[in-house]
Subunit: 255 residues, 2 copies
DNA sequence: ACAGGGCGCATTGTACACAAAGCAGAGTGC
DNA sequence: GCACTCTGCTTTGTGTACAATGCGCCCTGT
């Protein structure tokens, strides 16, 4: 039932983070990636022991990784009942997108002021990688890299709290995209990303913000958050209930 | 050298959080409170074992509390070298305040739309408590309650990601205030809080935002983030260096 | 006397063992 | 026949022992 996959010596490819506690980061990155690529469906139970077996580490490490994922909102941690992959409701998705609009606007304005040449070069490189992933048909990597682009943009804005918040928002957005994206492929047009970089490099705040808001509109419109998402939404709610069930009506938000 | 303070049966008074894992929350709340009331100076080492002794719990619990505090930015977690009370630099403080302005503006606008009568009643009650604390001369409680007011306002805005972000910002702001506030007492005029509630209840978005921005200005102006903060700033930087870098003998304040 | 290296202590990181809390199933009473 | 409870198992929560890392001190060599 649970065979050990690899004895954990494999390096994390994308390096979401990779300084000190490599074990934590590896486990974190793998689970995160699995969620993004929908190998872990929303509502899936994440047993500590099973994950420990799989990654060849003790529950202590798993627990830390889950805690981190929970804090970023991609995993739901229920006291005494374990962790499950978060299944954001349509309402939660809307809230995330509202917050993102807000933050992306601010980040764009700040990036126009503070982005260095090096920042811009890195951003361009990321768009390249993103395009490559999509052309390879690697949807999961594409979603992840697209998210990392927005995160790098936040870094260019040079505001630590916003970077941290953006990390959380991007993670949740990725999960939402994985859950709600309509059939089509390219969810985040790298073309728009490139135009955005150009506007920032030109220090044209109005244009940059305009492009970013347009970009947000596009992402929004590609999701089935409205009426037509009935079946998808129902499925999400269903799996959620299967996990949560009990006599408790609804934890809604654990905060 | 380290006597056990209390065997941990004392309830957390203000209830920053208090549902399930009470132990975590108690430890978290006590450390947080100690930091706010400046019984724990920035840069102070937070030894896991010492804290465990003090609170009568194992390092496991302490570690979780520290992790949580670290995530909120009031504690700095250095791999293999333990935790210290964060000592935000002036630059970091500026970043926090910039982010807060942004978020408070959005929260205010949303609260005008979404705040219920119950929300408003709770907000008014919190201002009362805050005023009481200040009149009692309980500065730490005052700072905390003032922060909780802004957090409750975020809850009235009904946007989960913003609430979470606001929690982090408020915590860090509290630390900054504790560190940089100029000698005077009332740092957050509850009067302004009350006016803000009135504007929100009147659903006057422009007025509410105007008041909030004014309020932010006031908080800003009460801090010594500019030139005159030389000594305070120097001290902060100094303690920071003592902890982070060298082989220096002793941090000014010990646990 | 000072610089460099090695050694011992203190503290954190990790794994594991035990305790507690859910959850599922079978059995029993109404 | 249905519902309720009691019991056993599975899974999480917590404490603790051991390993690893960092840090300070002392010793030695120049």
């Amino acid at each position: 039932m649970n065979e050990q996959l690899q004895p954990l010596k494999k390096q994390p490819r994308a390096g979401k983070a990779g300084r000190s506690g490599t074990q934590d980061d590896i486990v974190y990155a793998h689970i995160f990636e699995a969620i993004l690529e929908q190998r872990l469906a929303p509502g899936t139970k994440l047993s500590e022991e099973a994950l420990g077996e799989i990654f060849g580490v003790s529950r202590t490490i798993i627990r830390r990784a889950l805690s981190r994922l929970a804090h970023e909102g991609v995993v739901l941690l229920r006291p005494n009942r374990g962790a499950v992959v978060a299944s954001p409701s349509v309402e939660e998705a809307r809230q995330v997108f509202l917050a993102r609009r807000l933050v992306e606007k601010a980040i764009t304005e700040l990036a126009v002021v503070h982005a260095t040449a090096d920042d811009l070069a890195q951003l361009r490189k990321m768009v390249q990688d993103e395009r490559d992933s999509f052309s390879r048909g690697d949807r999961g990597a594409g979603i992840r890299l697209s998210g990392e682009f927005h995160l790098k943009l936040a870094e260019a804005a040079k505001n630590a709290p916003l970077i941290s918040f953006q990390r959380s928002l991007v993670s949740q957005t990725s999960l939402i995209i994985a859950q709600y994206e309509s059939g089509t492929r390219s969810h985040c047009s790298y073309d728009e990303h490139m135009q955005l970089i150009d506007a920032i490099e030109a220090r044209d705040a109005d244009q940059a913000v305009h492009l970013m808001m347009h970009h947000m509109d596009h992402i929004d419109s590609k999701l089935n958050l409205d009426e037509e998402s009935a079946s998808d939404d129902l499925h999400a709610v269903f799996s959620h209930l299967l996990q949560t069930k009990g006599k408790s009506p609804r934890p809604a938000a654990k905060l």
